[in-house]
Symmetry: C2
């Protein structure tokens, strides 16, 4: 997706001794000096096919990354949260569009300068590579989800991912924010808005979740949710600590 996730990953790729550092030590730091921009909810950052002149780092807010096909069908390939990067491809043109789900602040970086910085810095390269690999792993998980999971499994996977993200900043929370619309969720999970809605209703009825307005939701049975997500073995992000009670 070239929508690069900023998760964990430490430098296991390059094993040089650390000398004097002429360039910023992290990719995030590259963006620190850049002028920030801001767009309102619903506004397009760029469209599929646009000339890819810049990379963007989300500072605050949420973006949706999407593709459109022939008859207007839309596929959301991912949501981008603060810390995520988008546009690190070497293609001339963006392979997807990006729109603000909520008001979003971001920083921009020229593609050419970015590539130069990456090429010149043996410290930044493995960071970029790690992000690409994480992003590829996420794409694979999405392929698994879309290939053979039921509507319920898809939604539970999504909600569980959201929960994990929330807990990165608030380790004991059980409330997740859903800034996107049901249509966004549907287009992300390869379902319709009605199926998403019905599945939420069903999970609520079983006491697994409880809605808190349209854009938030409380997880009541974390371990049940995790089990229903069906990732089972392959989910190495799985933290037993995430699961409180049954």
């Amino acid at each position: 997706m070239y929508a690069i996730n900023s998760k964990q990953q430490i430098d296991r790729f390059h094993t040089d001794a650390v000398a004097a550092r002429p360039s910023p030590p992290t990719i995030e730091a590259l963006f620190d000096r850049q002028v920030p921009g801001e767009i309102e909810a619903g506004v397009t950052l760029f469209l599929e096919g646009d000339r890819a002149t810049h990379l963007y780092e989300v500072v605050e807010g949420v973006l949706r990354v999407f593709k459109r096909i022939t008859d207007g069908r839309r596929v959301i390939t991912g949501f981008l949260y603060p810390g995520d990067l988008v546009g690190a491809s070497l293609k001339d043109r963006h392979l997807f569009g990006a729109e603000a789900v909520t008001r979003t602040r971001f920083r921009r970086f020229g593609r050419r300068e970015f590539q130069e910085a990456i090429n010149n810095s043996p410290e930044l390269r493995p960071q970029l590579f790690a992000r690409l690999c994480d992003e590829m792993a996420a794409a694979q998980n999405q392929i698994v989800l879309l290939s053979c999971k039921t509507a319920e499994e898809r939604l539970c996977s999504f909600l569980f991912d959201c929960l994990k993200r929330e807990r990165q900043t608030m380790p004991s929370t059980s409330v997740i924010q859903l800034p996107m619309t049901r249509l966004d969720i549907a287009d992300y999970l390869g379902l319709t808005i009605e199926t998403v809605s019905r599945t939420i209703t069903k999970l609520t009825g079983r006491g697994i979740i409880a809605t808190e307005g349209r854009h938030a939701l409380r997880i009541l049975k974390t371990s049940t949710l995790a089990r229903l997500a069906g990732d089972g073995c392959d989910d190495e992000d799985y933290l037993p600590a995430l699961i409180q009670r049954n």
Copy 2:
């Protein structure tokens, strides 16, 4: 998928101007000196979770790359053909398994040495990056396919991709080889074996394709096939803009 596609080759084999080259000029050349291996159809090259000690380059034959989830369901995330690379992640362990579809010859490369070679060569880095980007684009196309295409569109997409691959070596052929089983195809397209079979029958009945045994198939109406694939506009627009290197 870390299963890196070798589409756009950079022909530096014939540019003998450069004298002393410390590292091979292409990723393919890296593997040239490696000892080749061979496995029979059905044999496992490595499994998901195995320690990722090596990268592999397919020399001859076809591999399937797959993941398994809880109750045994299998997802094939890609097929690998000669020239493709697999295992270029920086994760310690493989995120998927790889098995031979047909008897497959391959070359192996130590992960550490590979990473070192990449790090030390400003020529190899953009090649690897380009492959990763191509692979990411392929993953995205697969996500689009699985998100919102019908069985017929999925199969036509797959067959059209196969046709394009065949024509890379035989530009005017209209026969495609399908070394994998129907189950492989089904697991790749997120369908059942029966649906794949029925869809093939339907396309045959409409005179769009004609089977030639189980493992080959003639495309009779290429443009119809392309239209039914439903990729529409987003297809043939790639010209690789390689990363500037210092």
